[in-house]
């Protein structure tokens, strides 16, 4: 064992240090680029849905330089899922949403597994924030669901404006949703007008 470690160490020491440093930086760059590619895929290929935001406690709104967002679809009745066992503590759920007369997407039903949808319906994936039962593995009657769209980072000092607009129900979010249900914020609408457009890069 000791000999093997010694021979591996010897072999390792033969590799020029500069090469090892370059490989280390390359690995880190690749990881960052993979993160970017993952998000770009959602924004580029995802189907657009417009969601109505809701006011929440102002003290929780502006933490540093981001705004906390809640949506009409963040709190839903569990329907058929109520009282059923969940696969894990903060279980993944799939919410079928469809546009109303104003073009805003609203929840139709909640499912523990992906279900087939027909246009203009869209299936969005979320994670239940709080579960019921002693081990927290049962669906409650009402579900608090997070979709990964709850934080919007803004330049220094600009959070307050968005916070006020959101509290007056003037703020809407256009999200891109992939067929798998993964979503990302694409743009923000203030009084129906785009204020922040998210470029792919």
């Amino acid at each position: 064992m000791t000999e093997m470690i010694a021979s591996v160490t010897k072999l390792w020491q033969r590799i020029p240090k500069a090469v090892l440093f370059i490989v280390a930086i390359l690995i880190q760059c690749v990881l960052l680029v993979l993160m970017v590619v993952d998000r770009v895929q959602i924004l580029r290929d995802g189907r657009e849905v417009t969601l109505q935001t809701q006011p929440v406690d102002p003290r929780d709104l502006l933490r540093g330089d981001y705004v906390v967002l809640r949506y009409d679809i963040s709190q839903l009745a569990a329907g058929a899922l109520a009282g059923k066992p969940a696969a894990e503590r903060d279980a993944v759920v799939f919410v079928k949403i469809a546009p109303n007369a104003n073009g805003l997407y609203e929840a139709v039903s909640v499912h523990a597994e992906p279900v087939a949808v027909t246009a203009p319906e869209v299936l969005i994936r979320g994670r239940v924030a709080y579960s019921c039962g002693s081990a927290g593995r049962t669906f409650c009657d009402r579900l608090t669901i997070k979709y990964g769209l709850e934080s919007y980072f803004v330049p220094e000092g600009e959070g307050k404006k968005l916070e006020q607009a959101r509290n007056q129900q003037k703020l809407r979010v256009v999200a891109a949703v992939l067929p798998s249900g993964r979503a990302a914020i694409k743009r923000l609408l203030l009084d129906g007008e785009p204020v922040y457009e998210e470029p792919l890069y």
Binding site: T2, I5, A18, F21, Q28, Y152, E156, E198
Partner: protein, 423 residues
């Protein structure tokens, strides 16, 4: 740094012995000649350089947090990548020219800027929901840098990120043991072993503590007592450290002895915690549920077995006493509720004996940190028994007096039994 202090002391001793005629000048000269040249080490300029490098790395983090929109986000991303490339390039140059400390610093700065890059991508795409996932990614990148460059600083970044990741996961899912962290920790321990580095061994030993503490405090136990679960972890760390140190390899000796020191201090702290916190858990005294989950008990038992195995290999009496110390701290848990109506005197006595064993174990094996841990444990346990605001102070006084008399009687018997040289 410490080698220099030793050399200064040796030089002073050699001069003194030469002057006293204890050694011949030729012998002093040959001792001086046999010493290897002092490594350049860390001078003041390098220290200032390290501070500067860390400030630059922090500037990158603050730059991302500022969300400065005057610069396009793609440009901000490019600036961070450029920062990583420059840090890596400088690191490669320093490594090639033999300036290992600066090379290590550059790899660390690169790892921190990588973290800033993750934060920037999270900000660009509003990824605010999985902070722990970001920490895991940061840890992976920093680990890659540490493995490839041998940077202790990058290993520090990796372990800090991994600790935040595991603590957040444990907080979010308290009913599941977060075992993926063990895999990460074992990789770090493997690095410390491969590098034969004392600094890395300390980092590895420190990194396991937040995980075990978070698990003990947050894990969903029915009526479990966190300090008992902590005791099992300390037992495993101590026992495993001794067993690793017993392996026939200088690398294992270095890693194992550091782990066992942290285990000894953890055991002493846990003994103090047990005295001060266990009685507050009323439901434990009255309930029927176990005070510790089975897996935790197994960890504690394995700690004792490993310490005994180590004693068997090394034939050191101190390690047998170390195993006794671990065992006594663990035994305190089951005997605690025996006196539910009154005070847990037997448990107190077990903890006092455990700490005494720890001190004697350190003395026999000539391991000073273990002695210090034992003394701190004794002080903590006595303070806990004396000043706990519960029960009868008169009875506590009687217990302490009885324990003191037993200790003095034992000391007298030992003084008579042991040969003068061994006292």
């Amino acid at each position: 740094m410490f080698d220099k202090t030793y050399r200064q002391r040796l030089e002073a001793d050699l001069s003194q012995w030469e002057a006293d005629g204890v050694i011949a000048p030729a012998a002093a000269a040959s001792i001086r000649n046999v010493l290897p040249p002092l490594s350049p080490g860390i001078n003041i300029a390098v220290v200032v350089g390290i501070v500067g490098g860390l400030l630059i790395a922090a500037a990158f983090l603050a730059f991302v947090a500022a969300h400065w929109t005057e610069i396009a986000r793609l440009m901000r991303f490019a600036i961070l990548i450029a920062g990583m490339v420059v840090a890596g390039g400088l690191g490669a140059w320093f490594a090639a020219t033999g300036r290992t400390v600066l090379a290590d610093l550059c790899a660390s700065i690169g790892a921190i800027i990588f973290g800033a890059g993750i934060a920037l991508v999270g900000q660009m795409y509003h990824l605010g929901d999985d902070f722990a996932g970001g920490m895991l990614l940061w840890s992976i990148g920093a680990f890659a840098a540490a493995m490839l460059t041998g940077s202790r600083g990058a290993l520090t970044v990796a372990l800090v990120a991994a600790c935040i990741w595991t603590c957040m996961r444990i907080y979010n899912t308290p009913d599941v043991l977060h075992l993926p962290f063990v895999v990460v920790w074992l990789i770090a321990a493997g690095l410390a072993l491969a590098w034969n580095s004392r600094v890395a061994a300390h980092l590895v030993a420190i990194a396991v503590l937040p995980w075990w503490i978070a698990t003990s405090l947050r894990f969903d136990f029915d009526a479990a007592q966190p300090s008992f679960v902590l005791a099992n972890g300390a037992a495993l760390l101590f026992g495993a450290g001794l067993a690793i140190a017993a392996a026939p390899s200088p690398r294992a000796l270095r890693l194992g002895s550091v782990l066992s020191i942290y285990g000894a201090f953890s055991l002493a702290i846990v003994a103090f915690l047990e005295v001060t916190t266990v009685d507050d858990i009323i439901r434990f005294r009255t309930g029927t549920a176990s005070a510790q989950p089975l897996w935790a008990i197994v960890c504690g038992a394995v700690g004792v077995i490993l310490a005994l195995a180590s004693a068997g290999i090394t034939r050191r009496a101190g390690e047998i006493l170390a195993a006794c110390a671990i065992g006594l701290v663990l035994i305190a848990a089951p005997i605690w509720p025996a006196s539910a109506a009154g005070e847990p005197w037997f448990a107190y006595a077990a903890l006092l004996c455990a700490m005494l064993c720890l001190v004697v174990s350190g003395m026999l094996d000539d391991v000073r940190p273990r002695i210090v841990a034992g003394w701190l444990g004794i002080a903590g346990v006595i303070a806990g028994i004396t000043w706990a605001v519960k029960g009868s102070l008169l009875r506590r006084s009687a217990f302490l007096a009885a324990a003191g008399i037993v200790a003095v009687a034992f000391a007298t018997a030992l003084n008579r039994a042991l040969p003068r040289a061994e006292r």
